[in-house]
């Protein structure tokens, strides 16, 4: 007969012996990571910040996703069809999709999610401009009825970076797009479950494996394919000091740093317990943004002169230094992506000061000082502005470089005051490649005057090209439009791309499986 007391005593004795011998029960695999920032906001639709996007990929899933080559693949969608006239798209969800609270994912949820995302995202807004209606067919199927053919339906629904069209339960997706979702609504159908009770802003955010998640059968590829979670728990620790991050990974207190500073990479590379891994082969692009409404940059020829005066490698050497982590790339839609082309770029970005000077004379530049904003607290940006200043001055510009912290710059760049009265002429920033893959996605190409991003370029021709691109369904013709747009844009620039750069992650040697993708994701990652 089963004796409860004896069994309990035996179990206790075994546990005690195990403890004495140092035998622990199978330890949960916990990955401790320092991301580039702490997660303060939990709604990835409400803000475009990259840390919220990364958080979104943990908790929520997407209808479509891009692979390593940026080809769009189905993710939550099982099958989809498009009518011969390109006016009706029908999407059917995979079997077995469930929210973390156990309820099934429905077509209604997806429609509400697309609407909320589109209210915040410029690519979503563009797509919805061509959508007549979204209609539920059955619990797992919905239709998108178009007013006119639209060439970027799949690219929009599979948009890899901010804002990502994450699918949320209908109740959550009905939250006002201008308001954040509530803490208790951070419920997705993604591969990880957010632990609300363990979230301590400024300290850590915790995700555990979603045991009920049904990955696709295809192998993981970029952001697409089977999201197989091989860890029990992932903790993102808030550690603002980069030196402390390095000490902590050397000491084995953390397993991974998402983006260690470039100046610390040689130190990490020397440590035999740490590997530097470039997970994002397309990386990032540095950009010089014009305020196209402020004289003299309201004159396209003056902006073109800047394009002619700049040479990318000087920017990259000054900021990144090690050529392993940068690439001279003239293609504005980023080398290594589907719409990368050098069309129209032969005569620019060669550092031709003499030609730039001649262009300035032709344009009648009157020596107005260019107010160039320099951010001094973000290491990857700080050295860009002095290089721009030097190259512009060589070409005959007068440049007034104004130094400030990044948040001050962020606040000032939305001001339309004259540059001499608190406004600005130009600043430099960086885009993640996944955000600028085509003319519709790349925000700085938006030339719709007041509706455009800060800098407010107003150019009907560029807008016409962007519309043509969006409505074209044939990829070859889309490429032709990109080439034509680029040839025009070089002479009428909204911004100047000044080089491509990469940021490897640092991980301990017992960590493996980081996928090659434009976003750091944690499915497929293993810890030995």
């Amino acid at each position: 007969m089963f004796d409860l007391r004896k069994s309990a005593a035996a179990a206790l004795a075994a546990a005690a012996l195990g403890g004495l011998l140092g035998i622990a029960p199978a330890e949960a695999q916990t990955l401790k990571v320092v991301m580039h920032s702490d997660v303060k906001i939990l709604d990835p639709i409400w803000t475009t910040a990259y840390i919220q996007r990364n958080h979104g990929y943990m908790v929520w899933d997407t209808l479509f996703a891009v692979d390593e080559k940026f080809d769009v693949k189905p993710q939550m969608v099982d099958k989809w069809t498009v009518s011969p006239d390109n006016l009706t798209w029908t999407f059917t969800l995979r079997d077995g999709l469930e929210w973390h609270d156990g309820k099934p994912v429905t077509a209604e949820d997806c429609i509400a999610s697309i609407k909320r995302w589109a209210a915040r995202d410029s690519m979503g807004q563009k797509m919805m401009g061509s959508v007549a209606s979204l209609e539920v067919v059955d619990a797992k199927t919905f239709k998108m009825n178009m007013k006119e053919p639209y060439g970027l339906v799949l690219q929009s629904l599979g948009k890899p970076s901010s804002n990502v069209p994450f699918m949320m339960p209908k109740k959550t997706a009905e939250t006002d797009p201008m308001q954040q979702i509530k803490l208790e609504d951070v419920i997705g159908s993604g591969p990880f479950v957010f632990k609300a009770d363990e979230w301590k802003p400024g300290e850590k955010i915790v995700y555990v494996k979603n045991a009920k998640y049904k990955p696709r059968s295809e192998p993981a590829n970029g952001l697409s394919g089977g999201k197989v979670v091989k860890l029990d728990r992932v903790e993102w620790l808030a550690m603002p000091d980069v030196q402390t991050q390095v000490a902590a990974i050397q000491n084995g207190e953390i397993d991974m740093i998402e983006s260690p500073g470039h100046d610390l990479l040689p130190l990490l590379a020397k440590d035999k317990n740490i590997r530097l891994v470039s997970f994002n082969p397309t990386g990032n692009q540095y950009v010089f943004r014009f305020n196209s409404t402020a004289k003299p940059f309201d004159n396209a020829k003056v902006r073109h002169a800047v394009f002619v005066a700049f040479a990318q490698e000087d920017f990259l050497k000054a900021t990144i230094g090690d050529p392993t982590y940068y690439k001279v790339c003239k293609a504005p839609f980023v080398c290594g992506t589907p719409f990368a082309t050098d069309a129209g770029m032969a005569d620019v970005l060669n550092g031709n000061a003499a030609k730039a000077r001649q262009l300035l004379t032709e344009a009648g530049y009157d020596g107005t000082p260019i107010v160039l904003m320099q951010s001094t607290d973000l290491q990857v940006l700080t050295n860009l502005a002095p290089v721009a200043k030097a190259q512009m001055e060589r070409a005959g510009f007068k440049v007034d470089m104004v130094s400030m912290d990044w948040q001050t710059l962020v606040a000032r760049r939305v001001k339309r005051d004259p540059p001499s009265q608190g406004g600005w002429h130009a600043f430099l920033t960086s885009w993640v490649a996944a955000d600028i893959l085509n003319p519709v996605m790349a925000g700085f190409f938006n030339s719709s005057c007041d509706k455009a991003m800060f800098g407010w370029p107003c150019d009907a021709t560029i807008e016409k090209f962007r519309d043509q691109f969006a409505k074209e369904t044939d990829p070859a013709k889309q490429m032709a439009i990109v080439e034509e747009l680029q040839k025009y844009w070089v002479n009428n620039p909204t911004h100047v791309n000044v080089g491509q750069w990469y940021a490897p992650l640092a991980r301990r040697t017992n960590i493996d499986g980081n996928l090659t993708a434009p976003v750091p994701v944690f499915w497929n990652v293993t810890k030995k």
């Binding site: 906001i41 400024g202 808030a238 000091d241 402390t244 000490a247 000491n251 400030m404």
Partner: protein
């Protein structure tokens, strides 16, 4: 005494009013826009304007001030722009590490600096005196973050005795709490030790030349009794004053130390709030620090009476 305390507490009101107005205006008049920070890099101007409206930042500055003060008087410290939590909740979450750091630092600092200062005074001109004064100069001169990195390198990386960073709540694992407190509190206390030991030495030296010390020695009292009961007690007032003033150093130092050692305390909260222009959080935390500073200095004033019976309020 009660009269004194009431008078001092009443004097706190104008101090806090000035701090409140100053902090509020500083935040509004310096560059930076929380709406632009919240919206992220890819946001359009319309999106930023929408967020600004939702946060009430499109109201005239004086309207914003009146709303804020009105809420404060009702005990409503507002809601953080970013965390979507009340500022009171945020402070409650973050106060433990800062409090622990402050208490450990004070214990470390007082336990080391007072005896060192007394000994340096007693052995004036000796090697010990020079070492203590040399350390004091070093403690003043070397920035806290440099000391922190050095301690991390020696005790965490090279010797592996202590963890580099992090915080374990005292109720969760007391040993884990202690081992994570050693390096940060040692780092923060270095400047404090330098300050207090120097003042202790100077005060005790001054007292050691007094007639009543000579009388005590003439009575045949031991050196220990002369130093502890007569010299140190009479030198206590300036030492206590410096400890009180040092609270400001502690608050400033906590900001750096918490960042270096990854402690999720109020110092880090302040930095995060300032960098993201989270106005309600910055305003409340600074006001809270001001109250703490004023109250501690009031307690220090009261404690004078324990050491010097001539002081009466």
């Amino acid at each position: 005494m009660l009269d004194f305390i009431i008078r001092r507490l009443i004097a706190v009101i104008p101090v806090l009013t000035v701090v409140a107005v100053f902090v509020f205006l500083m935040l509004r008049l310096t560059p930076g826009d929380p709406a632009a920070v919240i919206a992220g890099d890819n946001a359009t101007s319309d999106q930023i304007d929408d967020i600004r409206r939702k946060l009430g930042l499109d109201e005239p500055i004086w309207t914003q001030f009146v709303i804020w003060i009105g809420n404060m008087l009702q005990g409503n410290f507002g809601e953080s722009f970013f965390f979507k939590k009340t500022v009171a909740e945020l402070i409650a979450q973050r106060i433990e590490p800062t409090l622990a750091l402050a208490v450990c630092t004070l214990i470390f600092a007082v336990a080391l600096s007072v005896p060192l200062g007394v000994l340096a005074a007693y052995r004036q001109g000796s090697v010990l005196d020079r070492v203590v004064m040399g350390f004091s100069v070093l403690g003043f001169s070397v920035p806290g973050f440099v000391i922190g990195y050095c301690l991390i390198y020696i005790f965490a990386i090279e010797l592996g005795w202590l963890p580099v960073q992090g915080y374990v709540r005292i109720g969760v694992n007391f040993w884990g709490f202690l081992e994570r407190m050693v390096l940060p509190s040692l780092t923060l206390s270095v400047g404090f030790i330098a300050l207090i030991s120097r003042i202790t030495r100077a005060s005790v030296l001054e007292v050691l030349n007094e007639d009543y010390i000579r009388t005590a020695r003439a009575k045949g009292l031991s050196n220990r009794v002369v130093l502890m009961r007569h010299a140190l007690r009479n030198a206590a007032v300036p030492i206590l004053t410096v400890i009180g003033l040092g609270i400001a150093i502690l608050i400033g130092g906590a900001v750096v130390t918490e960042s270096v050692f990854g402690l999720p305390g109020l110092g880090r909260l302040t930095v995060e709030a300032v960098l993201s222009r989270d106005f309600p959080t910055i305003q409340t935390v600074i006001l809270m620090f001001s109250v703490v500073y004023v109250v501690i200095n009031l307690l220090i004033d009261i404690s004078y009476t324990l050491f010097d019976p001539r002081i009466r309020y």
